[in-house]
């Protein structure tokens, strides 16, 4: 029954993708201006050509490494800050001001400012960390605030040790929020890193490829690189989410992931 439902969902996704391609193709035919909107066939052809080019993959790999680096930094810093804010109300209030400021500042402002402070290859990492950090911190804090207070009362009555409380009451409560935050951060990282690269133009990076193609009016290449980025981001995000939640959903309870 579940497999059948999954098959139906996949068919729906396929239909949606086909419709998008048809609309794109129709618009390209009507405009008849490949410089403004190349046809899907032209873009797929460019992707095919690019995929045989080692330099293209080096650029994509550079972006990927920046993404991984910034994701890892966000994960560690965000989790630590989230735990501190979850435990201390003072720290939660204290950090809420800078976190709100970061959240409401446009990415571009950070990129331009960071260019004064760092070299062009580090700016996308810095900006991505800034953008994803509040997501991670907020997620972990939510885990703490959503803890079952009756369960904590039970632990206190039965004389649970600090470690027991953390391991068996706090961790299972925080973990689902932490994982959801991590998956959101992972998706956001790709977008921010690529945007950072477009403005900073590091030596290697998919953003640099996009910017160079745009300057040379190679619209097809801009769309081809974008397409590769979209597919990679989608596939990696899904794989990450699958790896993270697979065990989580298999068990009867959230805590079984532990």
């Amino acid at each position: 029954m579940q497999a059948e439902q999954k098959r139906y969902t996949l068919v729906h996704y396929g239909l949606s993708l086909l419709c998008l391609c048809m609309i794109w193709d129709l618009a390209a035919r009507l405009m008849h201006a490949p410089l403004i909107l190349p046809s899907p066939a032209d873009v797929f052809k460019t992707v095919f050509v690019l995929s045989g080019d080692r330099i293209f993959w080096s650029n994509i790999a550079a972006t990927f490494i920046r993404c991984l680096l910034s994701f890892f930094i966000s994960l560690v810093l965000g989790t630590l800050a989230g735990i501190i804010c979850g435990i201390s109300v003072f720290m939660r209030n204290f950090l809420s001001v800078p976190l709100s400021a970061i959240r409401s500042t446009p990415v571009v402002s950070f990129i331009l400012l960071a260019l004064f402070w760092f070299d062009s290859s580090s700016v996308p990492v810095f900006v991505s960390v800034l953008m994803t950090l509040p997501v991670m911190v907020t997620s972990v804090i939510s885990g703490f605030t959503e803890r079952n207070s009756r369960l904590s009362a039970m632990a206190s009555l039965y004389g649970f040790s600090r470690f027991q409380r953390f391991r068996w009451i706090t961790m299972p409560a925080v973990l689902p929020f932490f994982l959801t935050g991590a998956v959101s951060c992972f998706g956001l990282t790709w977008k921010v890193v690529a945007a950072g690269e477009v403005l900073c133009l590091p030596k290697l990076g998919s953003g640099t490829l996009l910017q160079t193609a745009q300057v040379h009016l190679e619209t097809g290449q801009v769309m081809a690189v974008t397409l590769v980025l979209v597919v990679l981001s989608f596939v990696l995000e899904k794989l990450f989410a699958f790896a993270v939640f697979h065990k989580f959903h298999r068990g009867e309870s959230a805590g079984e992931i532990l």
Binding site: N148, S149, R150, L151, A153, M154, S156, L157, Y158, G159, F160, S161, Q164, W168, I169, M171, P172, G251, E252, S253, A254, G255, E256, L258
Partner: protein, 257 residues
Amino acid sequence: MNSTGVSIHIQDLCLTRGNRELYRHFSLDISANEVLALIAPSGHGKTTLLDFIGGILPSRQVSFTGTLSFEGQGISGSQKPRISYLFQDGLLIESATVLQNVVFPLVNISGKKEAYDRAVFFLQKAGLADKLDSFPGCLSGGEKQRAAIARAFAYPSQLLLMDEAFQSQDIYVKIQLMELLDEMLSETGRTVLFVTHEIREAVTVAGRILVLDSCPVQVLLDTKNRRNLTTYTDPDDDTTMLEKRITGLLAKHQYMG
């Protein structure tokens, strides 16, 4: 892991939850090793009273004045007796197995081996011998409650607080659990305060019954320390009379309050 019950003394308790006054100048004495049942209509603050005695009232929602003392001494960290609490919804740790749920409170007060043996013993008594390694998520509501009962009984407390503990059990399991409670109380002394909606259960198990009519009126009924489990299925005249009296008190509240 033997223990003896403690006496409880509540003096002049005034307690408000939100905007609602639940207790006004309420006083109560419970002797050591006594089994006291608490019966009241829903929303009368029965669970709040248990939380107050257990020291787990959420301070943000509740304000109170009055004193609580155990064995004649006010509560401060070290003097607080060991308390086990059987929560209405069981409150098991979902990420731990049934056995771990019962063992966790025990390992901090005894050796690991002894804690495991005791946990297994009480889980077997609660009819969960084949569920030791199951997670609470895989258990039915009744089984979860039985695991919570095993945890509360296994913990060598001086005071046992029970909040509608046998509520979701079928009659056979209920009798079995009442027998287990009786057996436990015969072996080790404990003071028990239990909240129930079932009058027969209260009359069968408790030595005294406190009927909270309407604030601040309370009626204490003496069951002459019965704990005679046969009356649960085969009520004698005294049982029937007590049941009628309690029903009358609750009905009076229903129609007049």
